[in-house]
């Protein structure tokens, strides 16, 4: 099962340039047309399941607007 990830996009920095959207290998990003940032941009967001936390969106973002998280799954030895 692929890792499960998620991102946060900062309204302060995002300029709606769409570079993250076209780079996301899972194609789970889009501009949120229902919202505007204080500067008047439609910010990027995740619109569906499937983010793996690969951070490619953050690598291409010119405004360092994206924080990336990934759920860490650890196999715990079963109790004897």
């Amino acid at each position: 099962m692929p890792a499960k990830g998620w991102i946060e996009v900062s309204d302060l920095y995002c300029k709606g340039c769409e570079l993250c959207i076209s780079a996301c290998p899972q194609e789970v990003m889009e501009l949120d047309m229902s919202r505007l940032t204080p500067k008047g941009y439609h910010p990027a967001h995740i619109f569906t399941d499937g983010c793996t936390g690969c951070a490619i969106c953050a690598i291409v973002c010119p405004d360092a607007a994206i924080t990336v998280y990934r759920e860490v799954t650890k196999a715990v030895p079963t109790a004897a």
């Binding site: 709606g16 340039c17 953050a58 291409v60 990336v68 998280y69 759920e71 079963t78």
Partner: protein
């Protein structure tokens, strides 16, 4: 049994950045270049001893964005200012951040002589094939046939000359320790660019002479393109004319492992 530990951070805005949003146009890869420099300086633990030298050009406000000391140079004179700062304070990490108009037009003399003298400074050179700040005029790096506001019919090499390949040219100088060209048009190339920036700063810290990383970069607004299309333009039009590669890798720089 599988347990999950949520909230595991993979990436966050580098500590090398201030909280100030940049003034760059949406999708302009000046921002990517800034981010890579901030990440590298943070990872090297040298933020508090670094002095940046900002240019005239779109990066004129670079001093607002980095958690380092900064000075602002007159147009094209960043290598001369960096020379003075580094000679007086050799323990500091000193870098210039310059566009192609700043570095290769008005500042061509400064950069050539700084490299020839082997000044122990690092130069981040943004090649976006035009003068972004002043409205997209032709730069020494404008491609043949490329339309700009001062070459509205496309750059005619018969009357306006040929583009200058700065990295190749500087690589002929013995004072240059590390001179390479990278590009910012996709994730793989951005990673390679970051590695080169790291090696350039390591070159300086080891006292191995002049280091420069040329970065092929976009200017979506003056190129009249969407940011995504501007990345394609870099890949399809700029990379063939400005090939990516290591143009000067001195024996010392070649030994840097990161």
């Amino acid at each position: 049994m599988v347990t999950t530990a949520p909230n595991n951070l993979v990436y966050e805005r580098p500590e090398g950045f201030t909280d100030t949003p940049t003034h760059y146009c949406p999708g302009c890869t000046h921002g990517v270049a800034h981010r890579l420099v901030a990440e590298v300086l943070e990872e090297m633990g040298v933020l508090d001893k670094t002095i940046g030298v900002a240019p005239v050009g779109c990066a004129v406000f670079a001093y607002n964005y980095f958690e380092t000391d900064f000075v602002e140079a007159p147009h094209g004179r960043a290598p001369a200012m960096a020379t003075g700062i580094k000679r007086v304070m050799p323990e500091r990490v000193v870098f210039t951040y310059q566009g192609d108009g700043d570095l290769a037009s008005i500042g061509m003399g400064e950069i050539v002589h700084a490299a020839a003298r082997g000044e122990n400074i690092t130069v981040i050179f943004i090649n976006n094939a035009n003068y972004g700040m002043t409205g997209g005029q032709m730069a020494p790096t404008t491609l043949p046939g490329m339309k700009t506001t001062s070459s509205p019919n496309g750059r005619d090499v018969e009357t306006q000359g040929y583009p200058i390949r700065v990295s190749e040219m500087l690589s002929t100088l013995d004072g240059a320790g590390y001179v390479v060209r990278r590009s910012l048009h996709d994730p793989k190339n951005i990673r390679l660019a970051k590695k080169a920036i790291r090696i350039a700063f390591e070159t300086q810290i080891r006292g191995l002479g002049f280091s420069l990383v040329e970065l092929l970069s976009t200017c979506p607004v003056n190129w009249n393109m969407k940011p995504v299309d501007a990345l394609k333009f870099v890949e399809e039009k700029m990379v063939p004319y400005f090939p990516l590669g290591d143009y000067k890798l001195s024996a010392g720089a070649a030994q840097i492992k990161i």
